[in-house]
């Protein structure tokens, strides 16, 4: 039995090292001089720590704006998609009204379509509204969520009807039932959708590349792409930029990892 566990650990450690090497190399390279970074064989630890790589990169691009734009986009997308998905999901799960199934079908259909099909017309909408290079442009496609509506509907369907009926007898109207009874019960679903929305917005590269082309309006994702254009082979500075870009989400993940893991797991098992 003990020997079997050793074998498992060896396999898992090999995998973990593979996962960590790129992060380690990013961090170590970001602190080297340009000359040391290209040395063969490479040094596994910086001979001298060049902290100025960070300040140079920070000063060469508007990273503060990148942070504000990224978290602004994530914040408004979470507010929009969680709130609107929750109201729609509750109505689709519990209320009866003519055309309900047809409308739900309409929402579902969009989940099966590759998102790139929406991009050209979405860009044209943003352009026609005169909102190119704004926070609104970054937020717009994520204001509502077909996936979120589907996910939360599954949660609401799993809540016993008796709870609602008791509230109806107490004289609550539909909104009060939704707000005071159902939403608290679907909390884990709301958290799952919030985390999923944040991750999706965080990782989206193509939409920001298309709508926000002036540096001050970019989120981190497309900002990094322009950093690469600027310092194509100065890898210590590129790596410093990468570290600046990834640490906030890595730290958030390590603090809230239970919620992250449960959130992601929840999006699978409920589907």
């Amino acid at each position: 039995m003990e020997r079997k566990h050793w074998l498992i650990h060896i396999v898992l450690i090999l995998g973990a090292v593979t996962m960590l090497v790129p992060f380690y190399w990013m961090l170590v390279t970001s602190l080297k001089t340009l000359v040391e970074s290209t040395q063969v064989p490479p040094t596994l630890w910086p001979q001298t720590f060049v902290w100025t790589n960070y300040s140079d990169v920070w000063n060469s691009l508007p990273f503060a704006a990148f942070y504000v734009n990224t978290f602004g986009m994530i914040f408004f997308r979470i507010i929009g998609s969680v709130f609107f998905s929750a109201t729609a999901a509750y109505a689709f799960a519990r209320l009866e009204f003519p055309g309900r199934d047809m409308l739900f079908g309409l929402v579902l259909v969009t989940m099966m379509i590759p998102g790139q099909l929406f991009l050209i017309p979405q860009y044209e909408i943003v352009a026609r509204l005169g909102q190119v290079d704004t926070l609104f442009a970054l937020v717009m496609p994520g204001l509502v969520s077909a996936f979120g509506t589907f996910l939360l509907r599954q949660f609401f369907l799993g809540i016993p009807k008796e709870l609602e009926e008791a509230a109806i007898l107490d004289g609550c109207n539909r909104w009060q039932i939704f707000w005071k009874v159902m939403l608290p019960l679907a909390r884990s679903g709301l958290v799952a959708l919030g985390i999923f929305t944040a991750l999706f917005a965080w990782k989206d590269l193509m939409w920001p590349l298309i709508v926000n082309t002036s540096l001050d309006e970019m989120p981190l994702a497309s900002g990094l792409a322009s950093l690469q254009g600027q310092y194509s082979t100065n890898f210590p500075q590129l790596m410093a930029g990468s570290v600046i870009a990834i640490w906030p989400m890595v730290v958030l993940f390590i603090i809230f990892q239970k919620q992250f893991i449960q959130g992601v797991a929840g999006t699978g098992s409920k589907s």
Partner: protein, 297 residues
């Protein structure tokens, strides 16, 4: 009478509560879908102007070697990354489902790439793959092997990108599969042990059938994700790179045509092709699932 007003009220609440999402989906998804479809039958002549040219974009696509090569690249990327990526995720999930020490730490480490922005991930891998001073070539040279031009050699570039794709997806699928594994009742394994079934037998007769619905979900979503690969190609292969032709995906070609060359109609036709491929592959999987996916209820 009371019941009737209650029902009327439910109608009103129902429409009110679904309105933002339904209107949003109509404007942001349904209209764009129809518009993209329409665009693919037109020729764009500057901003907002287009005239109908029937199937000409599709005919042009059929004679465009870039499109065919991009289709091949996309399918290779998807097939290889899904087969290897899902296999590795399943192995890690099964190992982490044992009672071993440090499960939480392993899980955290494997999930780290998932929370990292693809642009940063692509940059560090581009550095690892760098032909002159990258870590991989330094290691090769230190044991006397020749350097490999990972990202500029047409024979290796796509596979170099596939490795990055697998590296960044394993953690996500592992978490989904682990959740599925944890729903399998312990008692099944205890019963199998009493019957004398070994670990291999247990895996194939209990674990695999019980996990098959989650596995199916993981395979379907990974294929859809693979067919849309863009970020790593955009960040790791420069436009003038000799390997571009052998790495660019359909979505990359769509981006290039629509937003770099400004030919939105042709770009729209390329994503219509992607839509058809996605629907066909998903439909085939829905049919095939009856053969291997076991649903309890």
């Amino acid at each position: 009478m009371l019941k009737l007003t209650r029902r009327r009220q439910d109608y009103a609440w129902g429409y009110l509560m679904v309105a933002p999402t339904v209107i949003g989906v109509l404007i942001l998804n349904i209209y764009p879908l129809l518009k993209s479809c329409y665009l693919s039958f037109t020729q764009s002549t500057g901003f907002g102007h287009a005239h109908f040219i029937g199937l000409a974009n599709y005919v042009r696509m059929m004679h465009d070697p870039d499109v065919w090569q991009a289709l091949v690249n996309t399918l290779i990327y998807t097939a290889v990354s899904v087969v290897i990526g899902v296999f590795l995720s399943l192995v890690v999930a099964v190992l982490l489902n044992q009672h071993i020490r440090g499960r939480g730490i392993y899980r955290t480490i494997y999930f780290l790439p998932v929370v990292s922005a693809p642009a940063a991930v692509a940059m560090v891998w581009r550095w690892l793959y760098n032909a002159d001073a990258g870590l991989f070539n330094s290691l090769l040279q230190s044991v006397g092997l020749p350097a490999v031009h990972w990202l500029t050699d047409p024979h290796t570039a796509l596979f170099a990108i596939i490795i990055v794709g697998i590296w960044s997806m394993v953690g996500y699928n592992m978490v989904l599969l682990l959740a599925g594994l944890q729903e399998i009742p312990r008692s099944y394994y205890e019963a199998a042990e009493i019957d004398g079934a070994g670990p291999v037998r247990q895996f194939f007769s209990i674990t695999l059938p019980m996990i098959s619905p989650t596995l199916f979900f993981v395979v379907v979503t990974s294929i859809i994700g693979g067919l849309q690969v863009f970020d790593f190609i955009f960040m790791m292969i420069e436009p003038m790179n000799t390997a571009m032709e052998y790495t660019q995906s359909l979505v990359y070609l769509f981006y290039k045509q629509s937003f770099m060359m400004g030919d939105r109609s042709y770009g729209a036709a390329i994503v219509m092709l992607l839509l058809v491929i996605t629907l066909v592959i998903t439909a085939v999987q829905m049919k095939l699932q009856k053969k291997w996916v076991h649903y309890n209820d």
